[in-house]
Homo-oligomer: 370 residues x 2
Amino acid sequence: MNFNNIIKPTLLLDKNKCLGNINFMVQKAKANHVILRPHFKTHQSRIIGKWFKKAKVDKITVSSFSMATYFANDGWKDITVAFPVNIREIEKINELAEEIQLNITVENLESIEYLNKNLKFPVGFFIKIDTGYHRTGLLSENYSVIDDIMEKANHEKLQFKGFLTHSGNTYQAKTKEEIIQISINSTNQFIQLKNKYISKYPELILSYGDTPSCSIVDNFEGIDEIRPGNFVFYDLMQLELESCNIDKIAVCMACPVVAIHKDRNEIIVYGGGVHFSKEYILKDQTKVFGQVVHLTQIGWSNPEKNCYLSKLSQEHGTISATDEFINSIQIGDLIGVIPIHSCMTANLMKEYISTDNEEVDHFSGNQFKS
Amino acid sequence: MNFNNIIKPTLLLDKNKCLGNINFMVQKAKANHVILRPHFKTHQSRIIGKWFKKAKVDKITVSSFSMATYFANDGWKDITVAFPVNIREIEKINELAEEIQLNITVENLESIEYLNKNLKFPVGFFIKIDTGYHRTGLLSENYSVIDDIMEKANHEKLQFKGFLTHSGNTYQAKTKEEIIQISINSTNQFIQLKNKYISKYPELILSYGDTPSCSIVDNFEGIDEIRPGNFVFYDLMQLELESCNIDKIAVCMACPVVAIHKDRNEIIVYGGGVHFSKEYILKDQTKVFGQVVHLTQIGWSNPEKNCYLSKLSQEHGTISATDEFINSIQIGDLIGVIPIHSCMTANLMKEYISTDNEEVDHFSGNQFKS
């Protein structure tokens, strides 16, 4: 890598690791005969999108209509927005629905009634099912509302695609076994639903999400489609959950050293909450905001023992480090830091430099224009 | 306000409150005969910058050279970068130094030696003093390093401006009195330094920061310059510290309602960690990510009792609310949420809509280009 050009906090992307992660999930989906509809909210990048396209992925998931537009404009033709439909964006929905196979997510009648009246082009819709995460969705046994939605939906405009769930409760799991158990539990609820509705809707599919399950579980029997997202990069949160090992983490921040305080074993880097986000994991009741690595010609080393990002303010990062590490560092050096939550860090950084010095795009985000 | 145009999470800016906050600090600085050099990292906006200019402010603080460039390009001629100088940005430093009065912050000899060799145009420099926050800076009694810096600096290129501190430890204070005590303590250390160096550097100034002290303290005797930033908007963190009252908070997120779960007293809004940031405050050991308000024609109401943002994922916000509030809300409505930390929220949102429907800019941030 050419580090001379890196003058401020920069998100490095190891292309080989990333391609390896893509290939791993593509092969897994293939072996299990499930559709892979990766969630693009993690990378939000057209260039990385093309890497998926090369691996024969042609259906994707995003988390907003703005993001859907970003990818539709780059040629993606089949996009699911896995977020309860925001009816205030009806104009954008109609624009997208005219151009591509747009699938939306619904969990209440009010949205269906609004869409019946205001949709100008057909969209596919999934009913969001809550299989245990309790963030959004209908409980899988809430047949009365499910039936009501099916009945009230104008099926010329709203084409029923199936059921969709996100088992985000895997993120609270303490062991791999717990993740597997959550996945079995969700799948069982899902299969019951399918059995109930398949005769009336023979094309219906079951769409299942989350990186921890999709990484750890080996058997997707009963499921038709998987929507993991984070696996494209992984991160320290996933490492904690044992969804990945350290060699699979494909992103790393490069941060300039601006101060060294040997008396308290601290290094201050340029790299704060506006770069990393303030996500942390607790290790022995200590907040860890990132793990320190050495940058190398081809990427980065394994984490340095007892060296971690211990505090973040807006632009400052405080690294707690060993004497040995501190003695190896000078003002103006770059330090590598593996992020806690790669989705949030990438979303803040808004671009990547790949380990072969390529600039990689990221959707610009929240602005009115997008 | 015209809410019809608001279709996704949007940061509202109450211009009158903001102008009131600017005026409050301008008058306070005037009454105390101190220079007000506001920190622009909170708003990062040229339009809001112009509101300061109108109030006769002509010196500003920023936290990066990129941000300095953003404001220099809009006509600001005297900018302090209150962050330990990042020597990897020497090219940008030279570009800025050619155009404006650029002041940098230094806390070690290595940077001075590098700058001696590589500066092409004169810059002002402040020595960063650690008066108790222990993030960056030299302890105020570390005369040996301070003297060394003064001695080694090539004073033709590096013009000594004075001492600078940020009492960020006020953010950990439990009471107003504690904030005042921290401020007195910092000021005393500062005055001692001034007394020691004033004869040799008769022009030296003491530059003091942080919104909690500058809002609460009434007497800045001994101090020459103040650099508060957050006061331009304030937020729930400042309200907790009693730096402001609720009427002074000038920003509020408007978030579309996408799901309502009466059974667990929850509303799901479009508005997550990528909009708010994951900053929180603890109230009775419960994490609070924002406080719920009703949006009104002219802005927003006082907070609704027992209604708050209780969880955040990437794009979802979970609002815990009373029956009464939930019953007043429909799918597709907008809910107002006062943010915990306005600097972080504004940095994520990258633009504002003012209560008189004006689009207000925000520096684009981390990209290579900027």
